[in-house]
């Protein structure tokens, strides 16, 4: 059963081109907003700087994922080849560190494998996806973000947000069809 109660998510403004979005982002950043985002059909180079977004921490996470892969492969081979089941084949040294060169391929592969999965899950963790819905999808116009329209959304939970001030601000920086996005509670 739906209720008539709505919760304000924020203001959504449309921009026609990357150029307009980029400059709008600079204005929003300079106005001191913190809870806001740009939405675009493709990544725009330089928009991070225009928005004041910091560099992603993902490489650090992946570094440790990869290191875990290397360690796993090393221990897997060390324990099985030296301790549990030493095999004398191909006239290669059996015990100790001397068979290490023969282990490099598997160590490399597992490093890559662990890094790739850390990249995937690290990315999802950092961006908070997957999620079933998001208040911004309440806007009918928003579906065009994945086609050819660029959006700026300033959220209501931003300390600088105000019902009137934010709307006129978005219009002033060139936003079209500025819309109050409200979500069913």
């Amino acid at each position: 059963m739906s209720t008539t109660l709505k919760r304000v998510h924020g203001y959504l403004a449309e921009f026609e081109s990357v150029h307009d979005l980029y400059h709008a982002a600079e204005h929003v950043r300079d106005a001191g907003y913190s809870r806001w985002d740009c939405h675009s059909p493709f990544p725009i180079h330089g928009l991070d700087v225009a928005m004041g977004v910091k560099r992603s921490k993902l490489p650090w996470i992946v570094f440790f994922g990869g290191a875990a892969g290397t360690t796993t492969a090393f221990l897997l081979q060390w324990i099985t080849q030296n301790i549990i089941y030493p095999t004398v084949v191909q006239a290669k040294p059996t015990v100790g560190v001397w068979s290490l060169p023969a282990w490099f391929p598997v160590m490399f592969e597992l490093t890559v494998l662990f890094s790739a999965f850390t990249t995937l899950f690290g990315l999802l963790a950092l961006i908070g996806l997957p999620r079933l819905n998001h208040p911004i999808f309440a806007s009918k116009r928003f579906a065009k973000f994945s086609d050819d329209t660029f959006f700026v959304c300033i959220e209501a939970r931003d300390p600088k947000f105000s019902q009137e001030g934010t709307k006129s601000f978005l219009e002033k920086i060139g936003g079209k069809n500025v819309e109050l996005v409200e979500d069913d509670i």
Partner: protein
């Protein structure tokens, strides 16, 4: 088949043509929504008759493959033609053939990404899909070649009832790790690339099952720049991981041969030679798939003659590297003064039982791509198709020459025996083509064949410093650098 309808006349240079002006990657100044409509239209509209004409036989052939493997399980691996001394025959030939095809996909998606080759955006999605399906076709061969396919889990390093552990010094085990890692990473890379485009498909669907499914796999993507920022880092990381991975996979495959003591296999040239050959064969397969695709689905503005031209040049380069490797093998056979090495190559090229395979390989892989020195050959779709077909066949011959013709005349002349393929060999191989095509056609039917978001990103107007009211076409060089690294001219002075 020339893309005359979309001749680049309208995208010609400004009034004062500059030297080495870059050709646009999307012709006829197509808009963002045109790109969305054209690519999503393939998924949303009814498929052309040709799609069904290819899909139905593909499904039947995939069924034949399943039948052949079922028969093999029931009767034993002896239904294939290999017997001593040719213990590795078509199965390993086909394994190396298919895994090699996959390499072009990763080259396009990873190496060309790291080297900022923006033309990759039009072909990377389909090439990555091709990679995944080709690796699937490759994977089944060693799986069944072990003889008792139900014991194949013994390849995995997990404790088993006999308390036996794998020999980690064996290239065959390295191969298990390399190929399974390659497959997993390719799927992750492909999927991460697909997420924004799945969101596009989701946003265009009417509510229903389709929207639910696309929505589920789009993970709730909303194109937020705070997401794009992490996403681009993730994409870059995967590209950086896949680049050494793809080079390692075929190197490890070549170790299966190179670390043995078989004359004709025991050479240090194998890893680079295999990698170049894999990229060579893979690009031929990409062209074989994409040239008909662009024609059937009207994608000539997105996959332009420039794209075909670039890929033809890569085929020419890698084909010539492969040709160099062939000659170097012969030279080393002579220069090493090893009688066994010399005999192996003499039998391979002059008086062995399967000499014609060698010359078929040489013609297809080294001679035929030389046509691509000429611009007309790279721009005529029929020539490109013909050379690609030659290369597809040639790369199979190459693996046959390396594997089968070497083993046929291996060491003891008393044990020499010529290999003859059985009907199961033939139909299993044909069946894998059916399986591959079936998957590729389903991919065309349900997923965006071109990376929609990425193609939009290479349009000149996607550069924030592009002035929408300014002169068109002059912003091309701005695309080459990151705007955030731009230093104002005044600061330079």
């Amino acid at each position: 088949m020339e893309a005359t309808a979309t001749a680049p006349a309208s995208s010609s240079a400004p009034a004062t043509p500059r030297i080495l002006e870059r050709e646009p990657l999307v012709l006829n100044h197509r808009s963002y929504s045109w790109i969305t409509n054209r690519i999503c239209g393939i998924v949303e509209n009814k498929q052309p008759g040709l799609w069904w004409a290819l899909f139905i036989p593909s499904v039947i052939l995939a069924g034949v493959m399943v039948f052949c493997f079922t028969y093999l399980i029931a009767a034993g691996v002896g239904v294939w033609g290999q017997k001593q001394p040719v213990a590795w025959a078509w199965d390993i030939t086909n394994f190396v053939f298919w895994i090699g095809i996959g390499h072009a996909g990763t080259l396009i998606s990873a190496i060309l990404f790291l080297t900022r080759q923006k033309w990759r955006t039009s072909v990377n999605r389909a090439a990555e899909a091709m990679t995944i399906f080709a690796v699937m076709c490759a994977g089944v061969y060693p799986m069944f070649h072990v003889g008792r396919v139900w014991m194949v889990w013994f390849l995995a390093p997990i404790p088993n009832a006999n308390a036996i552990w794998q020999n980690f010094k064996s290239p065959l085990l390295w191969d298990v790790f390399a190929v399974s890692t390659y497959f997993s990473v390719s799927v992750v890379f492909w999927y991460i690339g697909l997420v924004p485009d799945l969101a596009t498909l989701r946003d265009r669907c009417k509510p229903g099952l389709k929207k639910l499914l696309y929505g589920m796999f789009a993970l709730g993507w909303r194109g937020a720049n705070r997401h794009w920022s992490h996403y681009e880092t993730a994409y870059m990381l995967l590209a950086a991981l896949s680049t050494p991975l793809v080079l390692s996979v075929h190197s490890v495959v070549s170790f299966d041969f190179a670390t043995s003591v078989v004359p004709g296999w025991h050479t240090t040239i194998f890893p680079p030679y295999f990698v170049a050959g894999a990229i060579f064969g893979g690009f031929a397969m990409v062209l074989t798939l994409m040239i008909p695709c662009r024609k059937i689905y009207g994608l000539q503005d997105l996959i332009t003659p420039k794209h075909i031209d670039n890929m033809a040049k890569i085929i020419l380069l890698t084909g010539t590297i492969v040709g160099y490797a062939y000659c170097m093998e012969l030279f080393m056979a002579y220069y090493s003064a090893s009688p066994y090495e010399g005999a192996a190559f003499k039998l391979r090229t002059l008086d062995g039982p399967s000499v014609w395979y060698y010359y078929a390989m040489f013609f297809c892989n080294v001679i035929s791509p030389q046509l691509f020195w000429f611009r007309w050959a790279r721009h005529n779709m029929w020539t490109v198709m013909a050379v690609s077909m030659c290369v597809n066949a040639g790369m199979w011959y190459e693996r046959y020459v390396i594997i089968v013709t070497t083993l046929e005349v291996h060491m003891t002349p008393g044990a020499w025996r010529t290999f003859h393929a059985t009907w199961v060999d033939n139909w299993t191989f044909i069946g894998t083509f059916g399986f591959f095509m079936m998957n590729f056609l389903l991919f065309l039917r349900f997923l965006p064949v071109i990376a929609i978001g990425e193609v939009k990103g290479v349009l000149p107007e996607s550069n924030p410093h592009h002035d929408p009211h300014g002169e068109k076409g002059v912003q091309e060089e701005d695309l080459m650098g990151y705007p955030d690294r731009h230093v104002p001219k005044a600061a330079n002075a």
